[in-house]
Every structure is written in C-alpha cells, then in structure tokens.
Amino acid sequence: MTILVAPESAATPSQPRTQQRNYLTDGYSVRSWLLTTDHKRIAILYLLSITFFFLLGGAAVIVVRLDLMTPQADLVQSETYNKLFTAHGVIMVFFFLIPSIPAVLGNFLVPLMVGARDLAFPRLNLLSWYVYMLGELFTLYALLAGGVDTGWTFYAPYSSTYSNTYVMATAVGIFITGFSSILTGLNFIVTIHKMRAPGLTWFRLPLFIWALYATSIIMVLGTPVLAITLLLVGMERLLGIGIFDPRLGGDPILFQHLFWFYSHPAVYIMILPSMGVVSEIIPCYCRKRPFGYAFIGFSSVAIAVFSFLVWGHHLFVSGQSIYAGMVFSMLSYLVAIPSAVKVFNWTASLHKGSISFDTPMLYALGFVGLFTMGGLTGLFVAALAVDVHVHDTYFIVAHFHYIMVGGAVMGYLGGIHFWWPKMTGRIYPEGWARLSAILIFVGFNLTFFPQYILGYLGMPRRYHVYPPEFQVLNVMSSAGASILGMGYFFPLTYLSWSLYFGKRASPNPWRATGLEWQTSSPPPTENFSETPVVLDEAYDYHRFDSLAATEGGGK
C-alpha cells in the first residue's frame, strides 16, 4: 500500500542493530513467555497450542478413515467410532479452526497492520490464551477419561439426557473456550477502531483487517448464545430441568435454534479470516491493487451480518415449521451474494497481473477454487427439497469440509507461509513448500470429492458400516486422506527446520505493501521504532514497484 513511513524508520530495518533485538530475543525464560503481554508472543503461544490440537484432531480422523476402508466394523466398535468423529469435530471446530487465523495471525498482525504498539487490551489478550488453555484442559480430560459420543453438535435431548459419556466436561471446555474467542474479538474491534496509525483510514486498511473485523462481530455477538445453550444443556444434565427434554415439556428444536444461531455464523468465523488472508496474498503475487477493494471489504461485513439470518437451514428436516424453512432457505441464498462478490473480485484481480506461483499464492488459488466448490454445493443444500435428499449424508460432510478445510485451512496455511518470515525472521524452503501445497490440494480433492458422490448416492454420515457398493469411493477417500495427511506433515517439518537452518529474512522478502512489512523481521517488541504515518492507498503495488525500480531495486 506504499505506506510512506517517516524516512528514517524506512531505513532502519537494514541496520544490524534492529536485526538483533526483536520480540523473540526479548527474554528467553519460560516466565517471559507465560506472562508476556506482547501480542506477537501470545500469537506464538496460540500457534503452538492449536498445532497440538490440530494433530490430536487429525489423529482421531486417521482411525475414522482407516475404519471406513471396509464396509464392516472391523477396526473399532460403534461406540468408539462415535467418540472418534465427535473428538475430531469438537477439536477441529472449537479448538483449531475458530482460533486458528484470528488468534495466531490476527493476534500477530492486527497491531502491526494498523501501526499500533499492541492490541488495545494486552492483558486481556493474555487472559484469552489462558482461558483457551483452561477450556482445552477440560476437553482433554473428557477425551482421555472416555470421550463423548454426541457429535460436535451436541443435539438435545441425547446430549442433555441420554448420552452416558463425558458431555459435561466437554461442554464446560467449549463454554470456557468461547470466552477466549469473545475476548479476542472484543480486543480486535476496539483496536481496529481506536488504535489505527495517523492517516490509516478505513479504506486504507488491509482487507485482512476488514475480514477480521467482520469475524470479531460474529465472535462477540454469536458466541454468547452458544455459551447459554451449553449452559442449558449442562443444567439439564446436572439438575434435570426440562428446557430441551420433550418428556418434561421442553422443545428439542429450541436447542437447534440456539445452537445454530452461533454455529452457523461460526463457519464464517473460520472462513472470513481465510478470505482476508487470500485478499492479502493475491495482490502481492500478481503485483496489483485488488479489483474492487471496497467491495471485498464490505462483502466481509455483509457476510458477517447475513450469516446470522440463515441458521434455520440446518433444521429443514428437524420438525421446524415449513414456513420458517422457506424463509431460511431464501435468506441462505443471500449469503451467496457477498461470497460471490469476493470470488469474482479475486479472479478479476488476477487479470493482467504479473502472477508468480509462489507457495502462498498456490494456497490462495487453491482456496478460491475449493471455496467456490464448497460454496456452490452450499446452494444445493440450502434448497429445501434437495436438502431432504442429502441431509445428514456424506454430501454434507464433503460440503463443509470444502469450506472448512479446502477454504479455512488452505487460507491458514497460505497465511502462515506468507507471514512466516515476518513471524520468525526465517525463509522456508520454497521447493518443499510448493510440493506440500500441491500435495494438500490433490489429497484434499481425492479425500472429499468422492464423499459428494457417496452422499448423493445416499451414504449417511456418522455410520461406520455401509453397503459394500460404497467401498470403492470410501477407499479413494481414505487414500486421499493419507496424501492430505502427508501434505500437512511436510510444513510441520520444514517450517520447524527453517527456524534453525532457514535463510534469514529481510524486512520485506515478498516486496509486499502493508505496514507489517515496514518493520524488521521479526519485529521489535514495540513493533515500530516510531509511529508510522500512512499517506497512501492500500495495495498500491504499481507505485511500489515503479519506486523500487527507480531506486535500483529495493530488496
């Protein structure tokens, strides 16, 4: 965005002194990490914790995919299978995807991108990590003690009355973790409103900030409804109140209304930040201002608002009134508008750009394709009649994995690669990174595309025995999962390797615009040696490149 930082600070990054002192070298003790209020260190704490949970959730699904290789129940029993897919869902949704980009990249980048010294409430930020860890402990306890078998959706009255697994501990864990999400969202909103550098108007903000702002709205206004829902489930288990139990006059569909009021927008908590990441990556790797900046920005906010109007499309076959079904079906199509606006704008941004296929760009392009497929199949299931056919089948499983894995995780990995030099001061090995990006794309499609077909043919989700004619597609899916797993394993390895052996990164290795690239890599604790002043539009790559050319090549 060709931000003209005060001239002397633009020169500082090349000086060796600033290379030495940064947020990573500012104290090495465990205490200096566990009691830090530095948003960058808290981001690293989150990175480590969510990576751990990603591996755990992945481990659960390895067993699931292995078991699905054959039509019979030969690896695990039904109860174990139920607990495995529940563990996979609970962990991946609440402990990996929801905190992934906001808590790691968002925590790291929001203050840097708005030119602030820290988030508005640094201690609250640290608290949110501890709250997350506390919730994690409860959930870990539930998993180790014997697991939960309700599915990640906790449908009542099974969860509130009948299941004899560790529903309580898991619900408490998710309840607590919700507060971490609320605190993060609150912190972002206040920071984006109140801490922007001089000259950084709303329409000069990076689109990543717009996306995180929209995400934060959902976190702040949606999460409390999940909290009260889980509280009601817990009270029903503990005290036998009858809010959701039809035996006691309660209404199980009320649970679904309350649960999906949060959990549908929660999908956008996962996908919006990825959209933000993609909106950063694409301009950088086609050296061009994104097409329709304001449309991309406002479509994020529109998605955040619309996401709260559509939850009833999860209830089409639950006994919800048919008239409500019609309303929710129509409203669901509304979300397609801002989503399509984004996809069209990203695609149009590529037009006449000088595109290079570096790793983050591979992820970003993968995101656009996979998100489009996930989104389009979302239109299928938002249609009342089609949903009756595919409800609770593998079609749904494939659909939301295209959004949550093909979309959200691709964006997360793209973002991690894009900002890895900024976070660690090291460059990752490009060859390996491209290889793994391609592996992930291929593996992902091989895993989940067959599931569309399986679902359309009628294989229900959450069963581990199935008619033999489904075996071929299931074996394909499991084979794809092994490739996907390998694709995830590579970044884990070479990124760790690069911490010690990677090439040292310059302040701006990708020649990207944006304030975070104006400070050294890794940034100093106080982020900027002096408060930057923003004088120009966002993503002015054209001017950035011509300036670099006249100066005889910047970096």
Binding site: P111, A116, R117, D118, L119, A120, F121, P122, L124, I182, L186, N187, I189, V190, H193, K194, M195, V220, L221, G222, T223, P224, V225, A227, I228, T229, L231, L232, M235, L238, L239, G240, I241, G242, I243, L248, G249, G250, D251, L254, H257, L258, T531
Partner: protein, 221 residues
C-alpha cells in the same frame, strides 16, 4: 487533567495508547462490546422464556403468582438504588472525592449483598414450598399442566440464578475497587475501572428490570 491533589506515582496511561482520551474511549468501547455479549447471553434465556410462555400463558401466569411480589418489588428498589450509588461513585472518582467514593462503593456493595441475600431467601421459600423442580427435588403443583409450571420455575431459577451470578461477580469486582479506593487509588485520571464497573453494574440492573415483570408481574394478581 484537572489534576492537583495527590498525584499517583503510576501513570494512568498504558504504554499502547497515545493519550488518555484514546484510552478512555477504548475502555468504554471494550466494556460496551462486552455488554453486548452479555445481552446476547441473556437473550438466549429470554428467547426460551418467550417460547414457553407463549405455549401456555395461563400456566405461566398461575405459576408467577407463587412468587413473592413484596420481595421482588423490594429487590427491584434495592437494585435501582445501587445503580444510583454506583453512578454517584463514578462521579466521585472522576472528581477526586476519595471519602465519597469509598462511602458510595461500600453502599453499593451493601445493597448488592442485600439483593443477593433476599434472592437466596426467596429460593429457600420455594424449596420449602416444593416449587424447586431441580435435581429431582419434589415438585408440587395442583393446577393443570404441572410439567409446564415446572418449566416456569426452571426458567425462574435459571434466569435469576444467572443474574445472581452476575451480581456476585460484580460484588467481587466492587470489593477489589473498594480496597483500591481505600489505598488512595482510582481518582481522577485513574477512575476508568470505577466507570467501567459501573457500566457493568447498570447492565445487570437493566437485566433485572426486565426479569422482574417477566417473572413476577405476568398475569393479574
């Protein structure tokens, strides 16, 4: 700003902010965002209440008669008074009146504790009268549809219970503030914690302002 009297050694300005106006506005905005979270949290309960009241208004009205209007009204008055004292406490803190601040915080804590005590006394009455359908306790209801009456009392205990929990949290925070005030803090530029806690306390009051008619006043007496 108008600072003359004992200048505290610690600066009121945190390192991430440029000036006090920015910090104060950030604090207020943060608290209001938190309160909007709280509104949605209670919103779920209000929705459940509305759904079940709509299903059988007569039973809800009949069950509501079992609540003690006298204590409910008194508690509302107590809470409204505590809202006044906490608003005055914010004023005292910002205008650097230490003695008044201490007095008003103490009054707020006293009123809040009184509210919670009366609430628990009411819970006890309900328990004695067999109107506490929690945890398998005996529930006696002579009118029609006892299951729906039980739902009313479930919601009564849930809503007032969650509200009382918020009161208790508020009381703990107020106690911390009181200690700080006694030590000479929270005055002038340092008044933000009092102001922000005041917002929280008022919010809890507003929730009660709706709980009171929904639980105690539905249906004519």
């Amino acid at each position: 700003m108008i600072g003359e009297t004992p200048t505290p050694t610690v600066s009121a300005l945190a390192h991430q902010f440029d000036d006090l106006t920015q910090q104060n506005e950030a604090d207020d905005l943060g608290m209001w965002l938190f309160l909007s979270t709280e509104l949605m949290f209670f919103g779920g309960l209000f929705l459940a209440y509305t759904v079940y009241r709509r299903q059988d208004e007569a039973t809800f009205a009949a069950a509501s008669q079992e609540l003690d209007l006298f204590w409910g009204t008194l508690n509302t008055a107590i809470l409204l008074t505590s809202s006044l004292t906490v608003a005055l406490a914010t004023h005292a803190a910002e205008s650097r009146q230490r003695q008044q601040l201490i007095g008003l915080l103490t009054a707020t804590i006293g009123l809040g504790s009184l509210f919670v005590s009366i609430k628990f006394m009411e819970y006890h009455q309900k328990y004695v009268h067999g109107l506490m359908p929690l945890g398998g306790l005996p529930f006696h209801w002579d009118g029609p549809s006892p299951a729906h009456a039980a739902l009313f009392f479930d919601l009564y205990f849930l809503m007032t219970g969650v509200h009382a929990l918020h009161m208790l949290i508020g009381l703990v925070i107020l106690l911390v503030l009181l200690v700080k005030a006694i030590r000479g803090g929270l005055l002038g530029d340092h008044a933000a914690p009092v102001r922000v806690t005041g917002l929280y306390w008022h919010f809890v009051d507003v929730v009660w302002v709706f709980l009171f008619p929904m639980l105690y006043l539905i249906g004519a007496r």
